[in-house]
């Protein structure tokens, strides 16, 4: 599996690398502007947290685009000619799928770290904002609740992608090489699974596990973002856990389909 991860990292990361470079360049451009504003003898207008947050929004967009590309690449492997190379390897379905999940985790972590670095750098350089933010940076980075929240989001994203991979694989094995029919089936499978998951999650949250929540204060060391960050927030626990279980099930089912029901 790790050999496949290495190969994917080496060969199929052109778009991701280009995206990272663009995001890095955007951050540098904005950072240079802020430095220029600070060096200006005239009193620069204070910059609100909105500017670094806009950059965070761009990172989210970048990540969404990369996620779509991940799914498209997987679909191309199943429907396209390179599938003979990947699925012809003496590897179990779990290893092939596992390599995609590992790549997804790497992508997510790199985007998270890149995005955080970008936002923190800009916030620390923004005129009027830097003085408020700088004393809190170390505290924020050491906020355990924030990282617990990130871990939860990562688990949900990976589960979501496992369900997407299952949908694509199921559509392909069911319809064979009819790409459009397979895509429709795939989309239907994903929609049905997500809808059922939401329905079941809500049902469990309101009936069986009422009042079971995760209480976190991820923003407690970020008083400058406004609101009442020190007040703990209640996050749902049962629905995400069920979604992760569904993701694990999707992973197992996809691996089984790859091993037993492949139709390239």
């Amino acid at each position: 599996m790790w050999k496949l991860v290495r190969y994917e990292l080496r060969g199929r990361r052109l778009l991701y690398t280009i995206g990272l470079i663009v995001m890095g360049a955007l951050t540098l451009y904005q950072a240079t502007r802020f430095i220029g504003m600070q060096e200006n003898p005239a009193q620069p207008a204070p910059v609100s947290m909105g500017v670094p947050m806009t950059m965070a929004f761009f990172w989210v967009l970048f990540y969404a685009a990369m996620t779509v590309i991940n799914i498209v690449t997987y679909t191309q492997d199943l429907y396209g000619d390179t599938g003979y190379l990947i699925f012809g390897l003496p590897l179990r379905g779990a290893e092939v799928l596992g390599s995609r999940i590992v790549l997804l985790v790497i992508d997510t972590l790199m985007t998270l770290l890149g995005g955080m670095t970008s936002v923190i750098v800009l916030a620390c350089l923004a005129p009027g904002l830097a003085q408020q933010v700088r004393p809190w940076v170390a505290g924020f980075l050491l906020t355990g609740d924030y990282w617990v929240m990130c871990l939860g989001v990562l688990a949900v994203i990976v589960s979501f992608m496992a369900i997407m991979f299952f949908g694509v694989t199921f559509g392909k094995t069911l319809t064979n090489s009819k790409k459009h029919l397979g895509s429709v089936f795939s989309a239907l499978v994903v929609i049905v699974v997500l809808w059922l998951s939401a329905l079941l999650g809500a049902l469990l949250e309101t009936n069986l596990f009422e009042g079971v929540h995760l209480t976190l204060s991820p923003w407690k060391n970020m008083p400058f973002i406004g609101g009442t960050p020190a007040v703990p927030e209640q996050f749902p626990l049962v629905s995400p856990l069920m979604f992760v279980a569904l993701g694990l099930l999707a992973f197992a089912a996809t691996s089984w389909l790859m091993d037993r029901k492949l139709n390239l």
């Binding site: 199929r12 599938g83 003979y84 390897l89 590897l91 029901k261």
Partner: protein, 238 residues
Amino acid sequence: MTTIVQISNLTKRYITTTALSDVTLEVPEGHIVGLLGPNGSGKTTLMKILAGLVSPTSGTVLVDGIAPGVATKAKVSFLPDVNHLDRWMSVGEAGSFYADFYVDFDRKRFDELLTIMRLSASQKIGSLSRGMVEKARLSLIFSRRARLYVLDEPFGGLDPLARSQVLDALVANFRADCSMILSTQMVADVERFFDDVAFLDGGRVVLAGDAEDLRMRRGASIEEIYREVYGHVETRQV
């Protein structure tokens, strides 16, 4: 004699079509089998099943005594009828990829084959002509010391000179402890290499046997037998 491929009553159905119907075939060790038939006769499906890329609907398929899966993928060297290599790879990187995943890949043999095929390891797959890509793919396939070689239309896009080079490589590389299944429309060029032939039509084996025996019994070359067997197909197509 050891049998490398054993297929019994194999059927492969898709939603609307039956690609293979009740196919029974054996390939002994050391034999080159010509899998012949017009387009849509089920050759590619049969080869993909042997390569572990398509699952059978019913029947038994054994490659070296094992049902197609991870274990047989390590023993079968499959050449699909389309370019399966990533365009970003160089020829040398494709070799490294094969060496990483297939324990039977012989890097020295690969370099020798590249020299024979007049290819350079630094050439990018995406920049090669169709014929050169075919040569690169064949070099990769024959650099494996596989138990079974499954070649689907290996001469597509090759000019006569290149075809001759490839055929020479094919003969030089063939070992007594392996078998080869080869599908081609260029029957006249390769029929001299066939030990056995199997003619497929509409997903069924319509004629199979020892190539020399068939020639003797019918008093015709394999190509002529092909025309005889599929005459109705050609007439229907016209």
